[in-house]
Amino acid sequence: MSVGGGGGGAHAAIPHNNIIAFGLVGGLVGIYAAYFLVDMLGEYMSFLGALGAICGIVWGAAAVRRVANYGLGTGVPSIGMLALGMGVVAATFGLAVGGVAGPVIAVIFAAIIGLVIGVLANKVLKMGIPIMEQSMTEIAAAGTITIIGLSTSMVGTFLFDEVMTGVITTGHIAVIFIAGGLAILHPFNANLGADEKQDRTLACAFEKGGIAMIVAGIVATIMPLASGALTILVGLAVWYVGFSAFYKRVKRDAYMITGSGLLPSKEELE
C-alpha cells in the first residue's frame, strides 16, 4: 500500500532548520558560484550548479519525509511531481523576468505558490496535516532550486536566453523534471515504514542527487558554455559516497542480512 507514513511527526536526528538552511543557502550559493566562476575561471566550473541542485534535492527529500510521514492518503510520488510542477512554473517565471536576480525571484515565487497550495490543501481539501503549509512552501522552493541548479550546470549560466535555447527548447527540461522529481520523491518512498530513519533517507537523497548530476553532465558535454567531464566525475563521486553511506545505513538498520541462495531447481523440488 502506497499511503505510507505512521500518522504523526517524524523523528529527526538532524534538526530540520539546519536542513532548510543547507538547502536554501547551499543551493543558491552553488547556482551563483557556477554562474560567476564559469565567467571568471572557465566553463568547467559549471558543475557547481549541480552541487547546488543536490542541496535542493536533499532539502526537498527531507521536507517530503516530514509531510508524507503524516500519510497523504495517496502515493508519495504525487508530492514530488507537485514540487517539480510548482518549481518549473516558478523557475521559468523567475529566470524570464529576473536576469541576474532570477534564482532568488524564482525561489520567492515558488514559496508563494507553495504556501497557497499548502493553505488550500488544509483549508479547502481538509487534509488536516499541521505542517502542510510550511512543507509545501519548502517543497516548492526546493523543487525550484533543483531545476535551476541542474539547468545551470547543463548550460553554464542561468540567464534566460541560454536556458531557453539550451534546456527548454531542446527538451532537456523533461530530463530535469524526471531526474529531479525522482530524486525528491524517491528517498522517502523507498525508505518509508516503521523503521524509517532520517539519515538513511537523506543518504538515499544524496545518492539520487548524484545520479541527477551525472545526467546533467552528460547533457552539458554538448553545450558550448558548459563542460560535462568534471560534472560527470563529481557526480560519480557523489553517487559513490551517497550509495556507500546508504548501504552502510541499510545494513545498520536491517534486523539480519542473510543469503537465501538460488531458487531450487526442478529436480530438487521433486
Partner: protein, 239 residues
C-alpha cells in the same frame, strides 16, 4: 523591467481561459477510475496506478496531439478536439489492456464495490466482488467514466497549452513551443495532484460517492491555476 500591468490587461482573457483549463483538468481526475496500489494487486476497482501518473499520461498525450494539430491549423476548436481525442485514446488503451490483464492474467471479473448494479449495463456487481477486496478490474461504468475524464483532461490541457502559445511575445517559434509546453506540463501536474489529495488516492468514477467532493478540488485548482496562469502569462508576455 517588464510592463506588468500592461501584459496582464492585454492577456486577461488568456489568464481566465488557462484557469478554466486547469479547472477542467482538476474535475477530469474525478472521472478517472484510479485504483492506486490496491488496484495493482487487484484488490480495488480501477487502473492500478496513481492519479498523477494517469493524469500525466493522458494529459501529455493530449498535449502532443494538440501540438501536432497546431502545426497544421490555428483553429482553436480543432486543436482542443485533437487534444481531447489524444487523451481519450491513451486512457482507453490503458483501460482495455488493464482489463485483459485482470481478466486473463489475474483471473478476476471486472466488478465494482461502490455500486450494487452497474449504472450503465444494470449488471449485478456485488456477487462478483471477491471477499476482502474492494472490487477489481474495470466494469463498464468505470471505463465510460474514464473516457469522459480523459476527454475533459485533454480539453483542459490543450486549452492551457493553446492560450499560453498565442500570447504575444518576441520569441522564435521553437522557443515559444518549448516554454508553453513546459508551463502547460507544470500546470497539469499541479492540477492533477490537488484532486488526488481530495479523493484520497482512489476513486471508481462518477458513480463513486467520493465524486461529490469535486467542488472542493475545483475551487482549490481555480486559485492555484489562476496564480500559475499569471506567472506564465507574465513570463511569456515579457519576453
Amino acid at each position: 523591467m517588464i510592463d506588468i500591468a500592461g501584459i496582464l490587461t492585454d492577456n486577461i482573457l488568456n489568464i481566465l481561459l488557462i484557469t478554466l483549463g486547469g479547472i477542467l483538468i482538476s474535475w477530469s481526475v474525478h472521472f478517472v477510475p484510479v485504483g492506486g496500489a490496491p488496484a495493482a494487486m487487484a484488490q480495488a476497482t480501477g487502473i492500478g496506478t496513481g492519479t498523477v501518473q494517469l493524469a500525466a499520461g493522458a494529459g501529455l498525450t493530449g498535449l502532443v496531439t494538440a501540438a501536432a494539430m497546431m502545426n497544421v491549423t490555428d483553429s482553436m476548436l480543432l486543436v482542443i478536439a485533437s487534444g481531447a481525442v489524444g487523451a481519450m485514446i491513451m486512457m482507453s488503451v490503458t483501460m482495455i489492456v488493464g482489463t485483459w490483464v485482470y481478466a486473463y492474467g489475474v483471473g478476476c471479473p471486472p466488478a465494482s464495490a461502490k455500486a450494487k448494479y452497474d449504472p450503465i449495463t444494470k449488471d449485478r456487481q456485488d456477487l462478483y466482488v471477491s471477499q476482502g477486496t474492494e472490487g477489481h478490474g474495470l466494469p463498464t461504468v468505470c471505463f465510460v467514466s474514464g473516457v469522459i475524464g480523459a476527454a475533459l483532461g485533454g480539453i483542459g490541457g490543450a486549452m492551457v497549452y493553446y492560450y499560453l502559445l498565442i500570447i504575444e511575445n518576441g520569441l522564435a517559434a521553437p522557443d515559444i513551443v518549448g516554454i508553453a509546453s513546459i508551463f502547460a506540463v507544470g500546470i497539469f501536474f499541479v492540477n492533477a495532484v490537488i484532486p488526488s489529495y481530495n479523493i484520497g488516492g482512489t476513486i471508481e468514477g462518477y458513480h463513486d460517492p467520493k465524486f461529490k467532493k469535486f467542488p472542493k478540488a475545483v475551487f482549490a485548482s481555480f486559485i492555484a491555476t489562476f496564480l500559475c496562469a499569471i506567472l506564465g502569462v507574465l513570463a511569456i508576455g515579457g519576453l
